[in-house]
Subunit: 313 residues, 2 copies
Amino acid sequence: MRENIDVLVHEMGLRDGLQSIDTIFTTEGKMAWIKREAEAGVPQIQVGSFVPPKLLPQMADSAEIVRKSLAIEGLTVSALAPNLKGAQNAMTAGAHQIGIVMSVSEAHNFSNVRRSVQDSLDDFSLIVEYRNAHAEYKDVCISGGMATAFGCTISGPVPLGEVMRVAEGLLERGADRLSVADTVGYANPGQVKELFDELYRTVGHDVGIGAHFHDTRGLGLANAFAALEAGVCELDASLAGLGGCPYAPGASGNIVTEDLVFMLESMGLRTGIDLDGLLEAREIMEAQLKGEPVHGTFAKTGLPLGFQYAPAA
Amino acid sequence: MRENIDVLVHEMGLRDGLQSIDTIFTTEGKMAWIKREAEAGVPQIQVGSFVPPKLLPQMADSAEIVRKSLAIEGLTVSALAPNLKGAQNAMTAGAHQIGIVMSVSEAHNFSNVRRSVQDSLDDFSLIVEYRNAHAEYKDVCISGGMATAFGCTISGPVPLGEVMRVAEGLLERGADRLSVADTVGYANPGQVKELFDELYRTVGHDVGIGAHFHDTRGLGLANAFAALEAGVCELDASLAGLGGCPYAPGASGNIVTEDLVFMLESMGLRTGIDLDGLLEAREIMEAQLKGEPVHGTFAKTGLPLGFQYAPAA
């Protein structure tokens, strides 16, 4: 964790947001958004996904976006990769952090990638081994992502024990950190607290753990607060809640970056992020949409009278 | 608290919602809404406000609404009253609970009612004395409401000590319970936990304490969860988030009843409320609007696969 912040906000809009909408942003349009958001102080941005362009044409310029983003001083550039090939491409492009995601739910994992969770864990090993075999990639952070950790649209509730099993599996195979995702917007704050309490008991407090929430049913920020209460200090979010949920038409995407930052700073937790700058980044993003809905309340209401950013430690 | 529920959800839409919008519902329209929502299991509904009709024509039929609502078996009928005259009218009509609200912020209280907080506390005494002097009203619950407890649009931050002072003042004057309100949508969950922790330390755990949140900046349900964590088990909410905030155009009103109930039941906390019934009540309400916005995400997304209501204790 950087020294001058208490909670790391990881912007997802360029990946989780753009992959869920029809509009394809130009490379220049993406870079204008990334630059303004980084300038506002967002420390880490997931700028793309190394999937086949025919599956997600929105992500076709991910290598170029990663390379260009590396020029932004201080920004941690992350990318998603679905497999070894994608991870290799992400490393070649120079991504600082690569998220490799598998579903904790067998049914969901099989539906997504036609692999068992065990097979996906084995695939994960290949990626870590590849990274370890190449000295030039030794600083690349491999993040082990656990999708559907709070529930699954195919099999419903996901047992806590399964989440722990995958978490331990990822760490045994060399994951540098873990990311726990409520992929389909099923989590509630009681469950969030229980899961992260159990996860810290299982893997210890030295492992970096991030949380990824969707606001599908309006509980996103309550879940984020519950995660903070359990000790999580890395949170994914999407500017204007860009994105959506294929399982819930009309629902928003990830929790809203600017609402989250407002919550954190109000609570005295330093993010390093300037809210006015974030709203400017939002305008840059929004101007490129072709009718897709945006979300969030902070952009409508602004700061309360007497608001102060979290003071320096 | 009723025996078969863990958290009491108090519907505010008929009062805090309707008083904030232009559309004036007919008495029949209000009753259709109230009946369906009570049938869905909502245990308590604030059905009106005993203010002068020329100030709030939406509330002109409050006495009739109270009387008609009393016929609904099992429903606790609450009403708001700004002063002794209003409280007398609410008692005459038969309200089970009467909310008397003053602002913790001197500036806000003066702006609203041209009275100091001390004067408002003295007015509160008159209401309790009136209730106590009339045997037929001995069962009427007088709720002491503290507006702007989390911040004020005129004076900004409100010191915790002021909130405690007003809380103690209300209890000394005979309040049967307390209601703590984020009237203007300034609260954050860290602050909520701190305030309720301190309040329980100050007044003890035997006092009934409710929380009233607005979702102005998207933190409403996070604040509700924080209140639950501190031990609060009575929460105000508004169906579809009906209402708004005069200080924040475009913002939603109270936290959304159906989103809150979904959160509580998901967490294993019994509300006694059926979510399908709540959505039907929402439709009855929504059909009477003339373009006012509605809020909330649960109505768009429905239940997660495998959802179960909180089990009986």
